[in-house]
């Protein structure tokens, strides 16, 4: 994968020189390779017993629905699904009569930990505003794992989430994908082997933050055309950087004693995006701007995994489908600024109806607690105008499509044998406002249990404060 697309042409052209340049006997220093995982995940699943949940209505997250279903979770994985499963020796059996089981919800747009509760200035760690181009910063270095929002999200059925930097910058930095379990450090929560994401932003925010010069000396971008110039120059710089590293590798392999290029943390991230190792998630509201960005994507040969917010995706759903770009959307937020002015309540079902990838996201410490209700509203609004999805299909917007956009669909996002046991037991049909997540499982372990205080974690910050341990 590494550098495949970028280097193919160059490598072939250079091959002839490489042999000729080799000087026998020249002493080489050690080959310098960049460690791409300097903050490795230390996540381990919480303790769990084999668990059989019986007689539920089951949505598999891929469009399927099974009544009277049982599901067996063991060793952190989904072991079996069927209508007559036997509990293995020592298993916990939960009677799910009248209740529903779904894949855990995956929120691709959260700022938990980087803009935590309480939202003090001391905790405001989500936008590195000093420069419009900051792909060198990593959201995981800001995540405060004691944010009570993580637990509230668990009570809403969230099992994985992507923490993004804010949208002040053209390039806001790297995201991190987490398993939604308490940890002492962010590494304890990191989703093993999940690709990194890169946050980019269109539109109003970068030009507002930088255009007047209050946050950088450059006074730019101050326009949308300035935004696009900023993206393009950065990608061009990343191409040049990658070529330097490719040349270094070629020369070294040819036996030369060559110095590696000086590392540039910002260009490391951008080069990773060009290679396809880092997934691009771009905050973008307007249809016209998204269309421009898909041209920039083609110009520099990278792939946009998702447009975030994407309130006008319904206007270009055909083009989003053709380019394989997901839209991560709210059900009904609109109008708080001009680029959100054309939001409609049917955005999600219209995008899905065009065959494009639709995702329900939150961008909110409140919304993340009830994304099932957001999907329900979108589903109902679509049906009212004849866009008729089933509940089972709508759950794809909450689990499998988000998993795909994050590159973790091999291990989570649907109820499939062998996948991580990231599932939610709902008190009732989760498309009802009255339904609550009774139990949220991550890798087969109970992270949250609405009826058992032992599984209602209290964050460090909440200890000794009013409301400690209360029902939330």
């Amino acid at each position: 994968m590494r550098g495949r697309r970028l280097r193919a042409g160059i490598a072939i052209a250079a091959m002839g020189f490489a042999l000729a340049a080799c000087q026998p006997g020249e002493e080489q220093g050690d080959f310098v390779d960049i460690n791409r995982d300097p903050f490795p995940s230390t996540y381990t699943p919480l303790q769990s017993a084999p668990t059989l949940i019986t007689n539920v209505t089951l949505l598999d997250g891929k469009g399927g629905k099974m009544e009277g279903a049982s599901i067996l979770l063991a060793d952190g994985k989904i072991k079996a699904v069927g209508q007559s499963l036997e509990a293995p020796e020592g298993a916990v059996t939960i009677d799910g009569t009248g209740r529903w089981v779904t894949p855990g919800i995956i929120d691709v747009h959260s700022h938990l930990g980087v803009y935590p509760s309480p939202s003090t200035g001391s905790h405001s760690d989500g936008n590195e505003v000093g420069d419009p181009v900051t792909p060198d910063v990593w959201a995981e270095h800001s995540v405060w794992p004691q944010d009570a929002g993580f637990i509230r999200a668990s009570a809403g059925g969230i099992t994985s989430l992507q923490i993004l930097p804010g949208s002040a910058n053209l390039f806001g930095g790297r995201s991190v994908v987490l398993k939604n379990v308490p940890g002492r450090s962010v590494q304890d929560m990191k989703f093993p082997h999940a690709p990194y994401g890169l946050k980019m932003a269109c539109g109003e925010n970068p030009k507002r933050v930088y255009g007047k010069g209050q946050n950088s000396d450059a006074h730019r971008p101050s326009t949308r055309m300035g935004n696009v110039a900023g993206y393009r120059q950065a990608w061009a710089d990343a191409q040049a950087y990658q070529r330097e590293w490719d040349k270094y590798e070629r020369d070294y392999k040819a036996g030369k004693d060559v110095l590696p290029p000086k590392r540039d943390l910002a260009l490391d991230t951008l080069a990773g995006a060009l290679r396809g190792d880092v997934k691009v998630h771009m905050h973008c509201y307007r249809a016209d701007e998204m269309t421009v960005m898909m041209d920039v994507m083609k110009e520099f040969g990278y792939q946009i995994a998702s447009f975030q917010h994407a309130v006008e995706s319904y206007k270009i759903a055909d083009r989003l489908k053709a380019n394989g770009v997901c839209s991560a959307m709210w059900a009904d937020w609109y109008g708080f600024k001009m680029e959100a002015y054309d939001g409609i309540r049917e955005n999600i079902p219209f995008v899905a109806n065009a065959g494009a990838c639709a995702i329900v996201h939150s961008d909110s410490e409140r919304g993340i607690q009830r994304l099932n209700q957001e999907a329900a509203k979108a589903l109902a609004d679509g049906r009212k105008v004849g866009v008729d999805f089933s509940e089972a299909e709508a759950w794809e917007w909450l689990s499998l499509n988000p998993a795909k956009s994050l590159g973790i669909e091999e291990t989570t996002g649907s109820i499939d044998i062998g996948k991580d046991a990231d599932v939610v037991l709902w008190s009732a049909d989760p498309f009802s406002v009255y339904a609550k997540a009774d139990m949220t499982f991550v890798d087969g372990a109970v992270v949250f249990d609405r009826h058992d205080a032992a599984h209602q974690p209290v964050m460090d910050f909440e200890l000794g404060q009013p409301g400690e341990g209360d029902a939330k």
């Binding site: 937020w333 109008g335 708080f336 409609i344 607690q369 105008v385 406002v433 609550k436 404060q465 009013p466």
Partner: protein, 423 residues
């Protein structure tokens, strides 16, 4: 009026006949709730005439000449009321120059009147009302100090004058932010508030005619003085924004000391002193989904707050997440039910309760005879997230289910090369 004058010669009767307002309507066959979430009437016949509800009866006859709206298998409620917005005062709040809800340089921060800033043409009103919300409390969100002017209650109908009740309340912010504006400490804040209210308090002052005349002369035209006088005359309420328990106790003391009609707003920690609020007859306006320690003022915020306040006998009413989505107050009410609030109480909190709290219950809040006909026919339980209104009346006028958003929806339902040219 100018338009009416140019139509001289056209009879007034002809004009009225063309107006939906005068229509007599019977909504039949639905399950109606005549008093908030209670007063259930099966197979209800709801009669509307001259803009008012005239009767709600089970299986009642439809008088001749009434247009019938079939509500079989549907739910019929009073149009809902959201208890804190800037509807009509704002179009796009961020960086678009259309926001009259924040007045950081205003002179008369106590007396400035929200109804002076209403623009009935805002697109937010149709967007909000087609989700079943027909009344809204409006007020200011910012000023240079702890006072946030005088707020009002409006209807979300088609008229040029949307005001149901102007100068319904004066807003006072006693949170950390209010303290910042007062000099940096709550100690400074209360010094300013107490001085202002003591000076305005008419009780125990010498009934000296000369002094009174002097006061009148001096204060003529001063919005602040007028507003404070109205507070002490019980012509309007004092809406106090507070979250921390200790601040809420100060609000209770304020009511006891000055005898004002206090309404508590935001109030994340109010549930901790629910009994005392009930005893003091202080109603509470809250967003029932607030459940995070967003600051050191709301550490005990919980989604169970609405249920606990109600159980203690506190009258509650709800707000939505913001003004664009004021319509989501209905979803918030549903979530309060999921956290233990009885369904009936949740519907009360978006109908009859705010009507009483904000002093408009003579004309709005129930489906009783004589009330303005704000009536919504729902395709199911209105608090559910997958239901929506099928038919809406505001003050007896049927409201088309059309907004700027539905027009965009209809334009882009089928994507074409140039949708602007598609009729």
């Amino acid at each position: 009026m100018r338009i009416l004058n140019t139509l001289a010669g056209v009879s007034l009767a002809a004009l009225m006949a063309g107006s939906a307002f005068a229509e007599d309507v019977a909504i039949t066959g639905g399950t109606a709730f005549t008093h908030g979430g209670t007063g259930k009437v099966d197979n209800a016949t709801v009669l509307i005439s001259a803009g008012k509800v005239t009767s709600v009866t089970s299986g009642g006859d439809v008088p001749a000449g009434y247009r019938v709206v079939d509500a079989r298998d549907k739910w019929v409620t009073t149009g809902f009321m959201v208890s804190g917005t800037t509807l009509g005062m704002m179009e796009v709040p961020s960086w678009a120059g259309m926001n009259d809800a924040s007045a950081p340089k205003a002179d008369h921060t106590i007396g400035m009147d929200a109804t002076e800033a209403i623009n009935p043409d805002t697109t937010l009103i149709p967007i909000t009302r087609i989700e079943g919300v027909t009344r809204a409390v409006i007020g200011f969100t910012g000023s240079k100090d702890m006072w946030l002017g005088q707020g009002a209650v409006i209807n979300l109908g088609n008229g040029e004058d949307l005001v149901t009740r102007s100068r319904a309340f004066v807003t006072l912010n006693i949170t950390e932010n209010g303290a910042e504006d007062a000099g940096g400490s709550r100690a400074a804040l209360w010094d300013v508030i107490n001085a202002k209210l003591e000076a305005a308090d008419p009780r125990g002052k010498k009934d000296d005619k000369k002094d009174k005349d002097d006061d009148k002369k001096k204060d003529k035209g001063d919005l602040n003085t007028e507003a404070l006088a109205r507070l002490f005359d019980h012509k309007e309420s004092l809406l106090v924004i507070a979250n921390r328990k200790s601040d809420i106790l100060k609000a209770i003391s304020l009511k006891e000391r000055f005898g004002l009609d206090v309404i508590l707003y935001d109030a994340d920690e109010a549930w901790r002193v629910a009994d005392r609020l009930a005893a003091a007859k202080i109603p509470v306006i809250l967003d029932p989904i607030d459940n995070l320690p967003e600051s050191f003022e709301d550490l005990s915020a919980t989604g169970a707050a609405a249920a606990r306040l109600h159980a203690a006998g506190v009258k509650i009413a709800f707000v939505g997440p913001d003004t664009q989505n004021a319509r989501l107050v209905v979803q918030s009410a549903g979530n309060a039910v999921a956290m233990g609030l009885p369904w009936e109480a949740a519907v009360d909190a978006i109908t009859v309760n705010p009507a009483e709290i904000f002093g408009v219950s003579a004309s709005y809040g129930t489906l009783e005879a004589g009330k303005d006909a704000d009536v919504v026919v729902w395709n199911g339980d209105p608090l559910e997230v997958m239901t929506s209104p099928d038919v809406i009346f505001i003050k007896g006028e049927e409201i088309p289910l059309v907004s700027r958003q539905t027009k965009l929806r209809d334009r882009y339902k089928e994507i074409t090369r140039s949708p602007a040219y598609v009729k």
